[in-house]
Symmetry: C2
Subunit: 146 residues, 2 copies
DNA sequence: TATTGTTATACTCTATAACTATA
DNA sequence: TATAGTTATAGAGTATAACAATA
């Protein structure tokens, strides 16, 4: 199990970039395909998934890294399908709070569960690989989402 | 260094899903931001990066997991900017081969180099983390891109 | 007949600017 | 004045259908 010391030099950030991009691409394509099967664009799917709990439109737009007018359109189309609601905030009468309906929450979970390519890849990992991967993903995620 | 046995159970695929999504999102947002600074959409950037070597339009569309008519538009806009060329194939007169110009290749490399969020995250990893991460990314990538 | 690429069309994504209502 | 949300608008992404040229 032990690695001979000095055999493989420590990878540079550059060497990690391309394999990381491949992983990102595979995940993104899987999400897009699954969302499409439910007549959702990947942008709508991301918004639906982001709404783990109700939040004002402005917070949603910030979460999605997009303009507020964009969030208006995304939520509007999903509201028309009964997946989300927009209710006036009691605290600030300018603000509206977006929230998933039960149908929206169910769909979000179904999309997550139906990402079979990603699921299959993670299941194919050995227990050792999974154990090693989890803290690295948390670490990278913390560094990437400041 | 050794882990006490039995302290942490082996992560399930489900536990890996969410942290993986966070990493994917961070990478995607960084690429979109950098491409935008060069007046490229993320779709155009992906196409430009995919063109490591010349390929027919059909192969490019397959690579991008999109319709051929979509690739026509993407390449058309980048051709108008002098980033790619479309030349008739000598072998099959129905086919056209898309290729980057030197400017297109230079821009692709610049975009890769300017992804500072991702670069910063990878540089912040310890040598041990980088060494552990590389084979895991290759493994996941191979499983995700079949 | 089947395939390659394009065009026409329609809808969505996305940002900017202008607007209303509220703070 | 500043902020939250919407609307209007314009350009880009995307797929479907129809088409021309070639295999």
């Amino acid at each position: 199990m032990a690695q001979e010391p000095g055999r493989r030099p420590v990878p540079t950030p550059d060497e990690l970039l391309e394999p990381l991009a491949v992983v990102v691409r595979g995940h993104y394509d899987d999400l897009t395909a699954v969302a499409g099967r439910h007549s959702l664009s990947s942008a709508q799917a991301r918004a639906l998934i982001a709404l783990t709990e109700p939040m004002p439109m402005s917070a949603l737009a910030q979460h999605l890294v997009c303009d507020a007018s964009n969030a208006t359109g995304l939520i509007g189309r999903m509201e028309a399908r009964g997946l989300v609601t927009r209710t006036p905030s009691p605290e600030d009468r300018r603000s509206k709070v977006a929230a998933r309906t039960p149908e929206g929450t169910a769909l979000a979970h179904r999309i997550r569960d139906e990402m079979r390519v990603v699921h299959g890849a993670l299941e194919a990992l050995t227990p050792e690989e999974r154990t090693a991967l989890l803290p690295l993903l948390h670490r990278l995620g913390a560094l990437l989402a400041p």
